[in-house]
Protein backbone atom coordinates (compact mmCIF):
# COMPACT_ATOMS: atom_id res chain seq x y z
CA UNK A 1 0.00 0.00 0.00
CA UNK A 2 2.60 2.52 1.07
CA UNK A 3 4.90 1.53 -1.73
CA UNK A 4 2.10 2.08 -4.23
CA UNK A 5 1.52 5.62 -3.01
CA UNK A 6 5.16 6.45 -3.20
CA UNK A 7 5.32 5.12 -6.73
CA UNK A 8 2.23 7.04 -7.75
CA UNK A 9 3.47 10.30 -6.36
CA UNK A 10 6.83 9.94 -8.03
CA UNK A 11 5.12 9.33 -11.38
CA UNK A 12 3.29 12.65 -11.25
CA UNK A 13 5.62 15.33 -12.50
CA UNK A 14 5.28 18.64 -10.71
CA UNK A 15 4.46 20.63 -13.83
CA UNK A 16 1.54 18.33 -14.61
CA UNK A 17 0.11 18.92 -11.15
CA UNK A 18 0.38 22.67 -11.59
CA UNK A 19 -1.33 22.84 -14.94
CA UNK A 20 -3.99 20.39 -13.79
CA UNK A 21 -4.97 22.76 -11.00
CA UNK A 22 -5.46 25.56 -13.52
CA UNK A 23 -7.58 23.35 -15.75
CA UNK A 24 -9.88 22.48 -12.86
CA UNK A 25 -8.47 18.97 -12.66
CA UNK A 26 -7.39 18.50 -9.09
CA UNK A 27 -5.81 15.10 -8.42
CA UNK A 28 -5.83 13.66 -4.92
CA UNK A 29 -3.29 11.26 -3.46
CA UNK A 30 -4.75 8.50 -1.28
CA UNK A 31 -2.35 8.02 1.63
CA UNK A 32 -4.17 5.63 3.92
CA UNK A 33 -7.76 4.68 4.74
CA UNK A 34 -9.78 7.91 4.62
CA UNK A 35 -6.71 10.16 4.26
CA UNK A 36 -6.22 12.18 1.08
CA UNK A 37 -4.11 15.13 0.02
CA UNK A 38 -3.41 17.22 -3.03
CA UNK A 39 0.28 17.73 -3.58
CA UNK A 40 1.24 21.34 -4.22
CA UNK A 41 3.68 22.20 -6.99
CA UNK A 42 7.20 23.39 -6.22
CA UNK A 43 6.62 26.88 -7.57
CA UNK A 44 5.91 30.36 -6.31
CA UNK A 45 2.18 31.12 -6.22
CA UNK A 46 0.81 32.68 -9.42
CA UNK A 47 -2.45 33.06 -11.31
CA UNK A 48 -1.81 29.91 -13.35
CA UNK A 49 -1.14 27.50 -10.48
CA UNK A 50 -3.92 29.17 -8.43
CA UNK A 51 -1.58 29.27 -5.45
CA UNK A 52 -1.82 25.47 -5.17
CA UNK A 53 1.78 25.11 -4.01
CA UNK A 54 1.29 23.49 -0.58
CA UNK A 55 -0.09 20.10 0.42
CA UNK A 56 -3.73 20.35 1.48
CA UNK A 57 -6.22 17.58 2.15
CA UNK A 58 -8.71 15.89 4.43
CA UNK A 59 -9.51 12.96 6.68
CA UNK A 60 -12.94 11.29 6.84
CA UNK A 61 -14.47 9.56 9.84
CA UNK A 62 -17.87 7.86 10.26
CA UNK A 63 -19.65 11.18 10.82
CA UNK A 64 -17.45 14.05 9.75
CA UNK A 65 -14.73 15.33 7.46
CA UNK A 66 -11.79 17.42 8.70
CA UNK A 67 -10.01 19.60 6.14
CA UNK A 68 -6.32 20.08 6.84
CA UNK A 69 -5.22 23.34 5.24
CA UNK A 70 -7.64 24.88 2.81
CA UNK A 71 -5.53 25.95 -0.15
CA UNK A 72 -3.53 28.84 -1.54
CA UNK A 73 -6.51 30.72 -2.98
CA UNK A 74 -10.29 30.78 -2.75
CA UNK A 75 -10.29 28.91 -6.06
CA UNK A 76 -8.07 26.13 -4.69
CA UNK A 77 -10.38 25.90 -1.68
CA UNK A 78 -13.30 25.34 -4.07
CA UNK A 79 -11.38 22.66 -5.96
CA UNK A 80 -10.51 20.89 -2.73
CA UNK A 81 -14.15 21.04 -1.63
CA UNK A 82 -15.31 19.57 -4.96
CA UNK A 83 -12.71 16.81 -4.61
CA UNK A 84 -13.98 16.01 -1.09
CA UNK A 85 -17.55 15.85 -2.39
CA UNK A 86 -16.48 13.26 -4.96
CA UNK A 87 -15.33 11.05 -2.08
CA UNK A 88 -17.98 11.60 0.56
CA UNK A 89 -21.23 13.42 1.40
CA UNK A 90 -20.40 13.60 5.12
CA UNK A 91 -20.48 17.11 6.61
CA UNK A 92 -17.26 19.08 6.76
CA UNK A 93 -17.12 19.73 10.51
CA UNK A 94 -13.59 21.12 10.84
CA UNK A 95 -11.12 23.21 8.87
CA UNK A 96 -7.71 22.95 10.52
CA UNK A 97 -5.12 25.63 9.67
CA UNK A 98 -1.59 24.41 10.37
CA UNK A 99 -0.27 28.02 10.26
CA UNK A 100 -0.97 31.43 8.70
CA UNK A 101 0.97 31.25 5.44
CA UNK A 102 -1.18 32.10 2.41
CA UNK A 103 -0.62 28.80 0.58
CA UNK A 104 -2.28 27.04 3.53
CA UNK A 105 -5.16 29.32 4.51
CA UNK A 106 -6.44 31.37 1.58
CA UNK A 107 -9.00 28.67 0.75
CA UNK A 108 -10.78 28.97 4.14
CA UNK A 109 -13.76 30.90 2.77
CA UNK A 110 -14.60 28.13 0.30
CA UNK A 111 -15.79 26.07 3.31
CA UNK A 112 -17.73 28.85 4.99
CA UNK A 113 -21.13 27.52 3.83
CA UNK A 114 -20.36 24.19 5.58
CA UNK A 115 -20.24 26.13 8.83
CA UNK A 116 -17.21 24.21 10.12
CA UNK A 117 -15.18 24.90 13.24
CA UNK A 118 -11.96 26.61 12.19
CA UNK A 119 -9.09 25.30 14.33
CA UNK A 120 -5.62 26.74 14.79
CA UNK A 121 -2.74 27.32 17.19
CA UNK A 122 -3.47 29.74 20.04
CA UNK A 123 -1.16 32.29 18.40
CA UNK A 124 -2.74 31.96 14.95
CA UNK A 125 -5.23 34.85 15.40
CA UNK A 126 -2.47 37.31 16.32
CA UNK A 127 -0.30 36.13 13.43
CA UNK A 128 -3.23 36.53 11.03
CA UNK A 129 -4.12 39.98 12.34
CA UNK A 130 -0.58 41.27 11.84
CA UNK A 131 -0.17 39.85 8.32
CA UNK A 132 -3.56 39.85 6.63
CA UNK A 133 -3.42 43.39 5.26
CA UNK A 134 -0.08 42.65 3.65
CA UNK A 135 -1.13 39.23 2.34
CA UNK A 136 -4.42 40.58 0.98
CA UNK A 137 -2.69 43.27 -1.03
CA UNK A 138 0.14 41.04 -2.26
CA UNK A 139 -1.88 37.91 -3.08
CA UNK A 140 -4.83 39.67 -4.70
CA UNK A 141 -2.27 40.96 -7.21
CA UNK A 142 -0.35 37.67 -7.57
CA UNK A 143 -3.39 35.38 -7.87
CA UNK A 144 -5.79 37.61 -9.78
CA UNK A 145 -9.13 35.89 -10.39
CA UNK A 146 -8.29 32.87 -8.21
CA UNK A 147 -8.15 35.23 -5.21
CA UNK A 148 -11.73 36.47 -5.69
CA UNK A 149 -13.82 35.35 -2.71
CA UNK A 150 -10.86 35.00 -0.34
CA UNK A 151 -11.52 35.95 3.26
CA UNK A 152 -9.23 35.82 6.26
CA UNK A 153 -11.26 33.63 8.59
CA UNK A 154 -9.94 33.54 12.10
CA UNK A 155 -9.77 30.23 13.95
CA UNK A 156 -12.46 30.01 16.65
CA UNK A 157 -11.15 26.81 18.28
CA UNK A 158 -7.60 27.28 19.49
CA UNK A 159 -5.01 24.71 20.52
CA UNK A 160 -2.68 25.68 23.37
CA UNK A 161 0.97 24.75 23.64
CA UNK A 162 1.33 21.75 25.95
CA UNK A 163 -2.38 20.87 25.70
CA UNK A 164 -3.03 18.78 22.58
CA UNK A 165 -6.64 18.90 21.38
CA UNK A 166 -8.47 15.67 20.56
CA UNK A 167 -11.31 15.86 18.06
CA UNK A 168 -13.41 12.96 16.80
CA UNK A 169 -14.74 12.55 13.27
CA UNK A 170 -16.77 9.46 14.30
CA UNK A 171 -14.60 6.50 15.35
CA UNK A 172 -11.76 8.62 14.09
CA UNK A 173 -9.88 10.56 16.73
CA UNK A 174 -7.37 13.19 15.62
CA UNK A 175 -4.75 14.64 17.92
CA UNK A 176 -3.82 18.28 17.27
CA UNK A 177 -0.56 19.53 18.77
CA UNK A 178 0.59 23.15 19.08
CA UNK A 179 4.32 23.89 19.03
CA UNK A 180 6.55 26.59 20.47
CA UNK A 181 8.16 28.84 17.83
CA UNK A 182 9.70 26.77 15.02
CA UNK A 183 8.78 27.24 11.32
CA UNK A 184 6.45 30.01 12.62
CA UNK A 185 5.38 30.95 16.14
CA UNK A 186 2.10 29.07 15.65
CA UNK A 187 2.73 25.65 14.04
CA UNK A 188 0.14 22.91 14.46
CA UNK A 189 0.41 19.20 13.57
CA UNK A 190 -2.41 16.71 13.06
CA UNK A 191 -2.06 13.03 13.98
CA UNK A 192 -4.61 10.51 12.75
CA UNK A 193 -4.63 7.83 15.44
CA UNK A 194 -6.37 5.16 13.34
CA UNK A 195 -3.82 5.00 10.53
CA UNK A 196 -0.89 6.55 12.41
CA UNK A 197 -0.59 9.29 9.80
CA UNK A 198 1.12 12.54 10.77
CA UNK A 199 0.41 15.82 8.95
CA UNK A 200 3.35 18.04 9.77
CA UNK A 201 2.24 21.29 8.15
CA UNK A 202 5.36 23.27 7.27
CA UNK A 203 7.39 21.79 10.10
CA UNK A 204 8.59 19.55 7.28
CA UNK A 205 9.51 20.54 3.72
CA UNK A 206 10.45 17.80 1.26
CA UNK A 207 12.30 18.70 -1.98
CA UNK A 208 11.28 22.36 -1.68
CA UNK A 209 13.58 24.62 0.34
CA UNK A 210 12.20 25.35 3.82
CA UNK A 211 11.10 28.92 4.58
CA UNK A 212 12.07 30.17 8.03
CA UNK A 213 9.49 32.52 9.55
CA UNK A 214 9.92 31.65 13.24
CA UNK A 215 13.04 30.44 15.02
CA UNK A 216 15.90 28.35 13.64
CA UNK A 217 16.77 27.06 17.11
CA UNK A 218 13.13 26.27 17.81
CA UNK A 219 12.68 24.49 14.49
CA UNK A 220 15.73 22.27 15.03
CA UNK A 221 14.38 21.36 18.48
CA UNK A 222 10.92 20.62 17.03
CA UNK A 223 12.42 18.28 14.41
CA UNK A 224 14.21 16.34 17.12
CA UNK A 225 10.86 15.92 18.93
CA UNK A 226 8.92 15.03 15.79
CA UNK A 227 11.35 12.36 14.61
CA UNK A 228 10.78 10.50 17.88
CA UNK A 229 7.11 10.00 16.98
CA UNK A 230 6.38 6.60 15.54
CA UNK A 231 4.18 7.47 12.54
CA UNK A 232 3.34 5.00 9.76
CA UNK A 233 2.92 7.70 7.14
CA UNK A 234 3.98 11.32 7.04
CA UNK A 235 2.40 14.09 4.96
CA UNK A 236 4.73 17.10 4.85
CA UNK A 237 3.67 20.69 4.15
CA UNK A 238 5.41 20.48 0.77
CA UNK A 239 6.57 17.48 -1.27
CA UNK A 240 5.38 13.87 -1.41
CA UNK A 241 4.03 11.87 1.52
CA UNK A 242 6.33 9.07 2.64
CA UNK A 243 6.72 6.03 4.85
CA UNK A 244 7.21 7.24 8.43
CA UNK A 245 9.91 4.65 9.07
CA UNK A 246 12.16 6.46 6.62
CA UNK A 247 14.06 9.40 8.04
CA UNK A 248 15.74 10.83 4.95
CA UNK A 249 13.38 13.82 4.58
CA UNK A 250 13.85 14.84 8.22
CA UNK A 251 17.61 14.40 7.93
CA UNK A 252 17.72 16.66 4.86
CA UNK A 253 15.82 19.42 6.63
CA UNK A 254 17.92 19.04 9.77
CA UNK A 255 21.15 19.14 7.73
CA UNK A 256 20.08 22.36 6.00
CA UNK A 257 19.08 24.12 9.21
CA UNK A 258 22.07 22.98 11.27
CA UNK A 259 24.48 23.82 8.44
CA UNK A 260 23.30 27.39 8.10
CA UNK A 261 23.10 27.81 11.88
CA UNK A 262 26.68 26.66 12.32
CA UNK A 263 28.01 28.90 9.55
CA UNK A 264 26.06 31.94 10.78
CA UNK A 265 27.28 31.42 14.35
CA UNK A 266 30.84 31.32 13.06
CA UNK A 267 30.38 34.67 11.27
CA UNK A 268 28.68 36.26 14.29
CA UNK A 269 31.40 35.11 16.66
CA UNK A 270 33.97 36.55 14.26
CA UNK A 271 32.08 39.93 14.36
CA UNK A 272 31.13 39.50 10.72
CA UNK A 273 28.16 41.25 9.14
CA UNK A 274 24.72 40.12 8.05
CA UNK A 275 25.67 40.96 4.45
CA UNK A 276 28.67 38.62 4.65
CA UNK A 277 26.45 35.87 5.99
CA UNK A 278 23.83 36.33 3.27
CA UNK A 279 26.52 36.12 0.57
CA UNK A 280 28.43 33.12 1.92
CA UNK A 281 26.35 30.87 4.15
CA UNK A 282 24.97 27.54 2.97
CA UNK A 283 25.73 27.96 -0.73
CA UNK A 284 26.68 24.26 -0.91
CA UNK A 285 22.97 23.48 -0.35
CA UNK A 286 21.95 25.16 -3.64
CA UNK A 287 21.68 21.98 -5.70
CA UNK A 288 19.79 20.11 -3.03
CA UNK A 289 16.55 22.15 -2.97
CA UNK A 290 13.90 23.46 -5.33
CA UNK A 291 13.41 27.27 -5.15
CA UNK A 292 16.74 27.72 -3.35
CA UNK A 293 17.32 31.14 -4.94
CA UNK A 294 13.90 32.36 -3.86
CA UNK A 295 14.18 31.52 -0.15
CA UNK A 296 17.72 30.72 0.95
CA UNK A 297 19.03 34.26 1.47
CA UNK A 298 15.87 35.11 3.32
CA UNK A 299 16.41 32.14 5.66
CA UNK A 300 19.96 33.27 6.38
CA UNK A 301 18.73 36.82 7.06
CA UNK A 302 16.05 35.65 9.48
CA UNK A 303 18.38 33.19 11.23
CA UNK A 304 21.14 35.80 11.58
CA UNK A 305 18.99 38.32 13.47
CA UNK A 306 17.85 35.52 15.80
CA UNK A 307 21.32 34.09 16.44
CA UNK A 308 22.71 37.59 17.05
CA UNK A 309 21.01 37.42 20.48
CA UNK A 310 22.51 34.11 21.66
Amino acid sequence: MHLLILLLSSFLPVQAIASNAAAGNYPLQHVSDGVYYHQGSHEEADNENLGAIANVGFITGDECVAVIDSGGSFREGELLREAIRQQTDLPICYVINTHVHPDHILGNAAFKADNPKFIGHEKLPAAMASRKQHFAKQFSEILGEAYQGTEFIEADNLVSIGKPLRIDLGNRPLLLTAYTTAHTDHDLTVYDVKTSTLWTGDLLFVERIPALDGSINGWIDAINTLTELDAEMIIPGHGPAFDGQKSEAWQNLLRYLTTIREEIRFIINDMGTIEEAIAAVGTQEAEKWKLFEEYHRRNVTAAFVELEWE
Binding site: E154, D185, E275, W309
Partner: protein, 265 residues
Protein backbone atom coordinates in the same frame (compact mmCIF):
# COMPACT_ATOMS: atom_id res chain seq x y z
CA UNK B 1 13.57 71.28 8.58
CA UNK B 2 10.16 70.37 9.84
CA UNK B 3 9.62 69.06 13.35
CA UNK B 4 10.29 65.39 13.83
CA UNK B 5 6.71 64.33 14.34
CA UNK B 6 5.42 66.01 11.24
CA UNK B 7 8.20 64.51 9.16
CA UNK B 8 7.60 60.98 10.34
CA UNK B 9 3.81 61.19 10.43
CA UNK B 10 2.84 63.92 8.02
CA UNK B 11 2.86 61.96 4.80
CA UNK B 12 1.27 58.90 6.27
CA UNK B 13 -2.32 59.34 5.11
CA UNK B 14 -1.36 60.58 1.68
CA UNK B 15 1.03 57.69 1.13
CA UNK B 16 -1.45 55.06 2.24
CA UNK B 17 -3.84 56.24 -0.44
CA UNK B 18 -1.04 56.55 -2.98
CA UNK B 19 0.53 53.20 -2.38
CA UNK B 20 -2.55 51.19 -3.24
CA UNK B 21 -3.07 52.86 -6.59
CA UNK B 22 0.30 53.92 -7.91
CA UNK B 23 2.09 51.50 -10.22
CA UNK B 24 3.30 53.35 -13.31
CA UNK B 25 6.63 55.12 -13.52
CA UNK B 26 4.80 58.43 -13.73
CA UNK B 27 2.92 57.71 -10.53
CA UNK B 28 6.19 56.73 -8.83
CA UNK B 29 7.69 60.05 -9.90
CA UNK B 30 4.63 61.82 -8.53
CA UNK B 31 5.16 60.11 -5.19
CA UNK B 32 8.74 61.32 -5.03
CA UNK B 33 7.74 64.84 -6.10
CA UNK B 34 5.27 64.94 -3.20
CA UNK B 35 7.79 63.56 -0.72
CA UNK B 36 10.49 65.96 -1.85
CA UNK B 37 8.17 68.92 -1.38
CA UNK B 38 7.11 67.70 2.06
CA UNK B 39 10.55 67.00 3.46
CA UNK B 40 12.75 69.48 1.64
CA UNK B 41 10.38 72.15 0.29
CA UNK B 42 11.87 74.08 -2.61
CA UNK B 43 15.49 73.20 -1.80
CA UNK B 44 17.51 71.92 -4.71
CA UNK B 45 18.64 68.28 -4.54
CA UNK B 46 21.48 67.14 -6.78
CA UNK B 47 20.50 63.72 -8.15
CA UNK B 48 22.78 60.78 -9.04
CA UNK B 49 25.46 62.02 -6.66
CA UNK B 50 27.54 58.89 -7.30
CA UNK B 51 30.77 60.83 -6.80
CA UNK B 52 29.84 61.41 -3.15
CA UNK B 53 27.71 58.52 -1.93
CA UNK B 54 27.10 54.81 -2.41
CA UNK B 55 23.79 53.33 -1.26
CA UNK B 56 23.85 49.54 -1.07
CA UNK B 57 20.68 47.49 -0.82
CA UNK B 58 19.73 44.09 -2.20
CA UNK B 59 17.88 44.24 -5.54
CA UNK B 60 15.19 42.12 -3.89
CA UNK B 61 14.12 42.40 -0.27
CA UNK B 62 14.66 38.76 0.73
CA UNK B 63 12.84 39.11 4.05
CA UNK B 64 10.33 41.98 4.01
CA UNK B 65 10.97 42.58 7.73
CA UNK B 66 14.79 42.72 7.56
CA UNK B 67 16.50 44.39 4.59
CA UNK B 68 20.14 45.32 5.24
CA UNK B 69 21.17 48.66 3.69
CA UNK B 70 24.37 50.68 3.89
CA UNK B 71 25.59 54.14 2.92
CA UNK B 72 29.23 54.96 2.28
CA UNK B 73 30.83 58.29 1.45
CA UNK B 74 33.47 58.54 -1.27
CA UNK B 75 34.93 61.77 0.08
CA UNK B 76 36.56 62.21 3.50
CA UNK B 77 34.80 64.05 6.32
CA UNK B 78 36.86 67.14 7.18
CA UNK B 79 36.02 70.02 9.49
CA UNK B 80 35.76 72.27 6.41
CA UNK B 81 33.50 70.02 4.36
CA UNK B 82 31.51 67.12 5.74
CA UNK B 83 28.23 65.29 5.50
CA UNK B 84 26.11 66.61 8.34
CA UNK B 85 23.07 64.38 7.79
CA UNK B 86 22.04 61.38 5.75
CA UNK B 87 18.30 61.14 5.22
CA UNK B 88 16.91 57.73 4.21
CA UNK B 89 13.61 57.79 2.34
CA UNK B 90 11.71 54.67 1.26
CA UNK B 91 9.05 56.05 -1.05
CA UNK B 92 6.28 53.49 -0.65
CA UNK B 93 6.67 52.55 3.01
CA UNK B 94 3.80 53.65 5.26
CA UNK B 95 6.11 56.30 6.72
CA UNK B 96 8.58 57.03 3.91
CA UNK B 97 10.95 59.26 5.92
CA UNK B 98 12.77 56.33 7.48
CA UNK B 99 15.92 57.63 9.12
CA UNK B 100 17.97 60.75 9.68
CA UNK B 101 21.59 60.11 10.62
CA UNK B 102 23.30 63.17 12.18
CA UNK B 103 26.99 62.62 11.56
CA UNK B 104 30.12 64.09 13.14
CA UNK B 105 33.05 65.31 11.03
CA UNK B 106 35.26 63.29 13.39
CA UNK B 107 33.95 60.03 11.87
CA UNK B 108 36.62 60.54 9.20
CA UNK B 109 34.63 58.56 6.65
CA UNK B 110 31.01 57.59 6.45
CA UNK B 111 30.25 53.88 6.39
CA UNK B 112 26.96 53.22 8.12
CA UNK B 113 24.49 50.36 7.87
CA UNK B 114 21.09 49.55 9.25
CA UNK B 115 18.14 47.22 8.53
CA UNK B 116 14.75 48.33 7.24
CA UNK B 117 11.30 46.98 6.41
CA UNK B 118 10.23 46.95 2.78
CA UNK B 119 6.90 45.39 1.89
CA UNK B 120 6.45 46.44 -1.72
CA UNK B 121 8.40 47.45 -4.85
CA UNK B 122 9.82 50.86 -4.07
CA UNK B 123 12.45 53.47 -4.70
CA UNK B 124 14.83 54.03 -1.81
CA UNK B 125 16.93 57.18 -1.44
CA UNK B 126 19.90 58.34 0.59
CA UNK B 127 20.22 62.13 0.65
CA UNK B 128 23.41 63.66 2.02
CA UNK B 129 23.08 67.11 3.56
CA UNK B 130 26.47 68.82 3.64
CA UNK B 131 27.59 71.29 6.28
CA UNK B 132 27.01 74.04 3.69
CA UNK B 133 23.38 72.96 3.45
CA UNK B 134 23.57 71.49 -0.06
CA UNK B 135 21.68 68.23 -0.75
CA UNK B 136 22.98 65.27 -2.79
CA UNK B 137 20.98 62.14 -3.55
CA UNK B 138 21.56 58.57 -4.68
CA UNK B 139 18.72 56.09 -5.11
CA UNK B 140 18.04 52.39 -5.61
CA UNK B 141 15.00 50.42 -6.68
CA UNK B 142 14.18 47.48 -4.41
CA UNK B 143 11.82 44.67 -5.35
CA UNK B 144 9.51 43.27 -2.73
CA UNK B 145 10.07 39.82 -1.30
CA UNK B 146 7.95 36.96 -2.57
CA UNK B 147 5.87 34.30 -0.91
CA UNK B 148 4.94 34.32 2.73
CA UNK B 149 7.37 37.04 3.82
CA UNK B 150 5.56 39.85 5.65
CA UNK B 151 6.95 42.89 7.45
CA UNK B 152 5.52 41.52 10.72
CA UNK B 153 7.51 40.28 13.70
CA UNK B 154 8.29 36.57 13.76
CA UNK B 155 7.95 36.03 17.48
CA UNK B 156 6.53 39.01 19.38
CA UNK B 157 6.76 37.17 22.68
CA UNK B 158 10.49 36.55 22.30
CA UNK B 159 11.00 40.17 21.18
CA UNK B 160 9.17 41.57 24.21
CA UNK B 161 10.97 39.20 26.59
CA UNK B 162 14.33 40.75 25.71
CA UNK B 163 13.08 44.33 25.20
CA UNK B 164 15.83 46.86 25.82
CA UNK B 165 18.69 44.37 25.82
CA UNK B 166 21.63 45.94 23.97
CA UNK B 167 24.88 44.91 22.35
CA UNK B 168 27.91 46.80 21.16
CA UNK B 169 29.63 44.37 18.84
CA UNK B 170 33.16 45.03 17.64
CA UNK B 171 36.58 43.47 17.39
CA UNK B 172 39.33 44.79 19.70
CA UNK B 173 40.06 48.33 18.55
CA UNK B 174 43.54 49.74 18.05
CA UNK B 175 44.04 53.43 18.78
CA UNK B 176 44.41 55.35 15.53
CA UNK B 177 42.98 52.60 13.35
CA UNK B 178 39.56 52.61 11.71
CA UNK B 179 37.31 50.05 13.31
CA UNK B 180 33.81 48.74 12.74
CA UNK B 181 31.22 48.70 15.50
CA UNK B 182 27.56 47.72 15.67
CA UNK B 183 25.00 48.97 18.15
CA UNK B 184 21.89 46.82 18.32
CA UNK B 185 18.95 47.06 20.69
CA UNK B 186 16.27 44.45 21.14
CA UNK B 187 12.99 46.21 20.51
CA UNK B 188 9.79 45.21 18.63
CA UNK B 189 9.80 48.57 16.81
CA UNK B 190 6.07 48.14 16.51
CA UNK B 191 4.54 50.12 13.67
CA UNK B 192 1.14 50.90 15.16
CA UNK B 193 -0.37 49.76 11.87
CA UNK B 194 -1.43 46.38 13.19
CA UNK B 195 -5.09 45.79 13.97
CA UNK B 196 -5.90 44.10 17.26
CA UNK B 197 -8.83 41.72 16.78
CA UNK B 198 -9.64 41.69 20.50
CA UNK B 199 -9.85 45.44 21.11
CA UNK B 200 -10.99 46.27 17.55
CA UNK B 201 -8.37 49.00 17.51
CA UNK B 202 -4.85 49.60 16.28
CA UNK B 203 -2.02 48.43 18.53
CA UNK B 204 -0.30 51.61 19.76
CA UNK B 205 3.05 52.20 18.06
CA UNK B 206 6.12 51.46 20.14
CA UNK B 207 9.31 52.21 18.29
CA UNK B 208 12.84 53.46 18.73
CA UNK B 209 12.94 57.23 18.11
CA UNK B 210 16.59 57.90 18.67
CA UNK B 211 19.94 56.14 18.93
CA UNK B 212 22.81 58.33 20.13
CA UNK B 213 26.37 57.07 19.84
CA UNK B 214 29.18 58.95 21.61
CA UNK B 215 32.87 58.25 21.95
CA UNK B 216 34.96 59.93 24.66
CA UNK B 217 32.06 62.33 25.38
CA UNK B 218 31.87 63.45 21.78
CA UNK B 219 28.85 62.66 19.62
CA UNK B 220 29.60 60.50 16.58
CA UNK B 221 26.12 59.61 15.33
CA UNK B 222 22.59 60.51 16.27
CA UNK B 223 19.95 58.50 14.45
CA UNK B 224 16.38 59.75 14.41
CA UNK B 225 14.29 56.81 13.31
CA UNK B 226 10.78 55.63 12.65
CA UNK B 227 8.85 52.46 11.96
CA UNK B 228 10.65 51.66 8.69
CA UNK B 229 13.54 50.42 10.81
CA UNK B 230 13.41 46.66 11.46
CA UNK B 231 12.65 45.00 14.75
CA UNK B 232 15.80 45.05 16.95
CA UNK B 233 17.17 48.30 15.42
CA UNK B 234 20.82 48.10 14.43
CA UNK B 235 23.39 50.73 13.48
CA UNK B 236 26.75 49.59 12.18
CA UNK B 237 29.42 52.22 11.56
CA UNK B 238 33.12 52.83 11.12
CA UNK B 239 35.06 55.17 13.36
CA UNK B 240 38.66 55.82 14.33
CA UNK B 241 39.42 56.12 18.07
CA UNK B 242 42.35 58.49 18.51
CA UNK B 243 42.62 57.86 22.27
CA UNK B 244 41.19 55.53 24.90
CA UNK B 245 37.66 56.36 25.95
CA UNK B 246 34.14 55.11 26.42
CA UNK B 247 31.93 54.21 23.47
CA UNK B 248 28.41 54.90 24.71
CA UNK B 249 25.11 54.08 23.01
CA UNK B 250 21.80 55.52 24.24
CA UNK B 251 18.38 54.58 22.92
CA UNK B 252 15.09 56.48 23.41
CA UNK B 253 11.78 55.03 22.31
CA UNK B 254 8.31 56.38 21.62
CA UNK B 255 7.13 55.48 25.12
CA UNK B 256 10.01 57.55 26.55
CA UNK B 257 11.83 54.46 27.73
CA UNK B 258 15.61 54.75 27.58
CA UNK B 259 18.31 52.12 27.34
CA UNK B 260 22.07 52.51 27.24
CA UNK B 261 25.31 50.57 27.05
CA UNK B 262 29.00 51.42 27.39
CA UNK B 263 32.16 49.86 26.08
CA UNK B 264 35.65 50.86 27.16
CA UNK B 265 38.10 51.28 24.30
Amino acid sequence: MMGRNSIFLGMFIMLISHSFTAHSATADEDIWAGLKQTYFGDREIRENADDLLVLEAPTRAEDAAIVPISVKSLQPQTSERYIKNIHIIIDKNPMPYSANFHLSPSLGEIDIATRVRIDQYTDMRAIAEMNDGSLHMVSRYVKASGGCSAPAGKDMEAAMARLGKMQIRMRDANIGETTQAQVVVSHPNNSGLQFDQKTRGYIPPHYVKEIIINFADENLIKLEAGISISEDPSVRFNFTPLKHGVLKAMVNDSKDMTYSMDKQI
